[in-house]
């Protein structure tokens, strides 16, 4: 398992091994699952209560399905750790945060200061994405 390099949660680190979606749905008492780009995140919705960690794998960062998976899970009320793993690059960090990711375990460790800059880059945002940030239209109309 790749190390978590950035985490934006107060609770204790989750170290449960993540199983595949198929394995999870087949059995199981696992508390951590890993979603691949082709998996349907909605299949997990009936089981969110007992999941403490969902990893979303980005085999290539240019495959954006994981962003939708994350939002689907957060919109369904998942409040556990949502961890981006795989080809996680600096330039997608703020985007991932906005879609609900709160932990990051890149295959290749990222430059700390560049990553911090990326997380803090956007002072304001145009869209509501369920991440708690007030979009610009919200600020304009109080």
């Amino acid at each position: 398992m790749t190390d978590v390099q950035f985490r934006f949660r107060e609770d204790d680190a989750v170290n449960d091994p993540a199983v595949t979606v198929d394995a999870f749905l087949d059995q199981s008492n696992a508390t951590a699952v890993r979603i691949e780009p082709g998996d349907d995140a909605r299949a997990l919705i009936p089981h969110l209560e007992r999941l403490s960690l969902i990893e979303v794998n980005f085999p290539a960062w240019t495959d954006g399905r994981g962003f939708s998976s994350a939002r689907v899970l957060r919109e369904a009320g998942f409040s556990g750790e949502l961890r981006a793993v795989g080809d996680v690059v600096i330039d997608m960090l703020s985007q991932l945060r906005r879609c609900g990711f709160d932990a990051f375990a890149p295959d290749r460790s990222l430059n700390e200061s560049e990553a911090r800059t990326a997380f803090e880059r956007w002072e304001d945002v145009y869209q509501a994405t369920g991440d708690g940030r007030i979009p610009i239209w919200g600020k304009r109309h109080g």
Binding site: T62, G64, R65, Q95, W122, Q127, T129, G130, H141
Partner: protein
Amino acid sequence: MYKYDQYDQQMVDTRVAEFRDQVRRRIDGHLTEDQFRPLRLQNGLYLQLHAYMLRVAIPYGTLNSQQMTMLGDIADKYDRGYGHFTTRQNIQYNWIKLEETPDLLADLASVEMHAIQTSGNCIRNISSDQFAGAAADELVDPRPYAELLRQWSSFHPEFLTLPRKFKFAVIASETDRAAMKLHDIGIKMVRNAAGEVGAQFYVGGGMGRTPMIAPMIREFVPLDQLITYSEACLRVYNRYGRRDNKYKARIKILVHELGAQEYTRQVEEEFAHLLDQGIEPPIAELERIKEHFADPAFEADAPDDLDLSDPDFRLWAQRNCHAHKQPGYISATVSLKPVGGIPGDASADQIRLMAQLAKQYSFDELRVTHVQNIVFPHVRKADLYEVWKTLDDAGLGTANLDTVGDIIACPGLDYCSLANARSIPLAQKISERFGSAEKQSELGELKLKISGCINACGHHHAGHIGILGVDRKGVENYQLLLGGSEGADTSLGQITGPGFDEDGIVDAVDKATKVYLANKHGEERFLDTYRRIGMAPFKEALYD
């Protein structure tokens, strides 16, 4: 027109800073070209055959004179003194240096412009009717809705790495001047039985290798659900659009493979879910944006007649001008298609001159059309002669709108790394062959469009006459298509048969026009005659 507030400005400034960092990391070697590529593309920066090309966004084709002047200055400062207006109502510069792009973007940001998402697999610049806010036949001004969508789609975190690029067009009149049904999402503003304005959604159109006309998937989306519905359309596409083959990755393939009905069902399901998520801006935001598009201060009693005694002016006024909703005013199109010229090109001086004319005579506003021309949307009829005189003196007075000389052509093999054949020299030859006023007048409305490869950037599928450049065993070869249209009567052109070489295709166009002239009834356009008599007589003339 829309004016940035502190937030819009800050978003654009932040992007400049972000891209400056990315360029630095590339030059330092921290990013490989493979890693940098998707990043630069999201900022409209392509690596072409000879240099970097930068595409600057002109949202819904509207800009003011200060912005237009800056586009001219950028052509001088960073390019070789030219800009190239495109079918996405944008402008491209063909000779850009990577290390200068952050400064170029900062110059753009200083006049509320940017190159955000003008390329890459994300939601691109949103196009619209070039006569929006001026046309006599529009229901409402479509641009406020396009601006609302622009803000929503800019940096949308879920939709920056879609299966493929994604283009919106928004129109609000029966006459479609934006090829709306040939977009990933085409929106037509309509009024329902209750008299309310809303958005009609057409999804899954496009040109490229597999041209498709978008089916309507929703007759009426209320204005306070516009963003939510768009988000539902995009989410279904992002989750299920094909990623195994980039030539099958556009939404048109998904809609086609699922069937419009099943795609619609999935969108409606997602939409019902998203309605509870609070993602829709309040109507007050749309109202705020609308105020920016209020009519300029038209003179109520501007004289409504034109002195057409100068025959050259008369020809231009009749060809290149469009009816305005306000009596005493007219919309004038500047053709960037002089005989033998490069379609869509303008020199820095010409760009600045058009800016100055817009400031003086068109309430400080210009438009770029998807046919690669420039519009002064609001000219007093009393000023039109003066405007034309000034344009004509600068080589911008060509009277050929919508005629065979008003060619759309992609950059082709002269610039583009994807092209199979040259487009520009062919456009030049055709415009020289058919460029005389007599010939154009004889042939009437005839939309000719040239693409240098199957990706169809030159819209050849939608030309009354379309030309597609292909590579045939290492030799440039040109296929001829007839019967395409991008208007309210959208249709896709059909290939006539075997292709031609460069001179042969010019002769083939000549033959096709002769068949038209021999068969036309009354005032019929080329397209109407083709639709009536069909392909056979053309084939006969072309291949016998």
